[in-house]
Symmetry: C2
Amino acid sequence: MNNITDIHYGPLPADSPYVKPFRFHYTQNGKQKSWDLLKVHDSVSIVIFNVTRRKLVFVKQFRPAVYHGIISGDGVEPGSIDMKKYPPEIAVTMELCAGIIDKPISIVEIAREEILEECGYDVPVDRIEQIIRYRSGVGTSGAEQTLFYTEVTDADKVSTAGGGVDDEIIDVVEYGIEEARQLTAKGTVITSPPSFLFGLMWFLANRAPKDA
Amino acid sequence: MNNITDIHYGPLPADSPYVKPFRFHYTQNGKQKSWDLLKVHDSVSIVIFNVTRRKLVFVKQFRPAVYHGIISGDGVEPGSIDMKKYPPEIAVTMELCAGIIDKPISIVEIAREEILEECGYDVPVDRIEQIIRYRSGVGTSGAEQTLFYTEVTDADKVSTAGGGVDDEIIDVVEYGIEEARQLTAKGTVITSPPSFLFGLMWFLANRAPKDA
């Protein structure tokens, strides 16, 4: 899925549409303070359970931010990346199906589109259940993320869809319930975000079949 | 706890020690791509359970990024914030005790310091259990976060400690197990991050007393 080469960094252009950093000033108990942060889009994520085959449906993709996090944690300079030592696969993450809210449609419609575009299931909005809403990145962005849950069947699958749109390169993967539960076991080291782990545990506690 | 006034924004200075944004370039399947991201510190977070009183110990604090996320989601311009309509309390978050890794000591030592500084419990490192490690902010930062768990007693409490150090203003709050479980119920809208929700669910599934 990856076939990634020629990784390097450069300065952030002032007109980046994706990352808008700034300094936030306030006074607390008479003392002036500031906090550096950035604006990012609100988003949705969806726990998808295929009831026909009793499998959870996740997505995998190469994440530049994770690649950078790994190599910079090791002190590697951007100009001298040894891609044999740090192959792109180290930064492929497993996540819930998700997407940013960048259109003037309801958030459940955004969720519906992402389920179709990323995972290839065509599900009506009345089968997509809103679960919980929280703030991601409370230290840097404070964007809102809404978690949804949907149950799909093999009959909902649109054979030509999935894998993302435009330049997205997304692999769809399926996990059995016990196999997924192992991802939350003590000792796990995973490139997934906490929203994935929370969504998974919420499913296991609230929606997993009792005989699983 | 807050007493916050005079909120305004400004541009990010080029020498911000906290937010270092840049553009990441790579080639995937022959196509040049880029991704805008930022470097943030790796961190630890700790689920703290007081076994004397059977209470989970969390922290609350004002989060500028969440305040910004809320008002910008409503389309409020930085120069015209109505602080009666948007009081700082809307951006007070409940989180796990946590801290960034910014010293050359082991991560469990960092966890130990945060438990003492933020929550006022003096716990030796051999009572702090490492649970799971994941990547926070896979879209923008890719920083690593390690989740720990510790059980404390009232006897571990250092009366003069807690509430943060230096300029930190942190409130320590306690939740009973059932009260905490309600925070993960369907329909919840919360300013907490997903790492809080995951840590809480991990505790409920793996460490909460069975008779609770």
